[in-house]
Symmetry: C2
Subunit: 173 residues, 2 copies
Amino acid sequence: MTRILGIDPGSQRTGIGIIDVDAAGRARYVHHVPLVLLGEGDFAQRLKRLLHGLAALIEEYRPDEVAIEQVFVGKSADSALKLGQARGAAISAVVLHDLPVHEYAAKEIKLALVGKGSADKVQVQHMVGVMLNLKGKLQADAADALAVAITHAHVRTTAQRLGVNTKQAWSRK
Amino acid sequence: MTRILGIDPGSQRTGIGIIDVDAAGRARYVHHVPLVLLGEGDFAQRLKRLLHGLAALIEEYRPDEVAIEQVFVGKSADSALKLGQARGAAISAVVLHDLPVHEYAAKEIKLALVGKGSADKVQVQHMVGVMLNLKGKLQADAADALAVAITHAHVRTTAQRLGVNTKQAWSRK
């Protein structure tokens, strides 16, 4: 059994989704939670809450591997900077726990969940619910965090069948 | 005596400059070093080196306060994201050590060092050398890191004279 923690970084809230995957590649839902970056305090204090919040989740759930969405940046350099800072703090929490981080582009996530890279977000979110056998509607950031975790589960299971090292095959510069 | 660590975040190298300030506001050079983000490994590994490198400096030099430059983002959202990630990791290292972080815009740094907000970078770098009594040319990232530390030294000395709390007056959202 391998436990995977998925991260959907955002400048206002970062989604966290945790799943377990068995040797056959079957995924089971474990937990999901949003880490909210808004609220009291200055920017550094909010980043600290994200860092400590994620560190506490890692210590409680002890994932074996971490998957993070390669964020899409729009036209605004200012919001890209904010998103980058949140993503940098999230990766910091992960690497401080010496966990391997795997990055996936939105296209790869859509391909893994829906079977085509051009699928829309609603289809991806629907498939997360179906695959993890969840009742009710998930919040978008929770669904996206679980989706990147499922994507990594698929990739690592396929890679193991083919005898490929996922770390080398899938971690990016 | 107050020890201030200044950070000039960059997506390729982050400058670190450390100074000591006495009660009269006089600054003394202590150390400077670039933390290079390029090199071996994937992005997460490079971020980890930045995080551990800065943590090691904090543990060795034990600064009382930290000042960081409010980065200027150009037109490219992609480079803003990279810069944001480096800045997020640097702030993470600082807040993990429970140190207060103060942010200063480029304009405030120019005003503090040269006396006018429209000064160019070369003038700022020259003044860093003069104020800290350093012989020879400093690298740009080292000079910028020392410049933001000097700016904070000026602001906190002035604030103390006026009986203002620097944390509230100068930390930003």
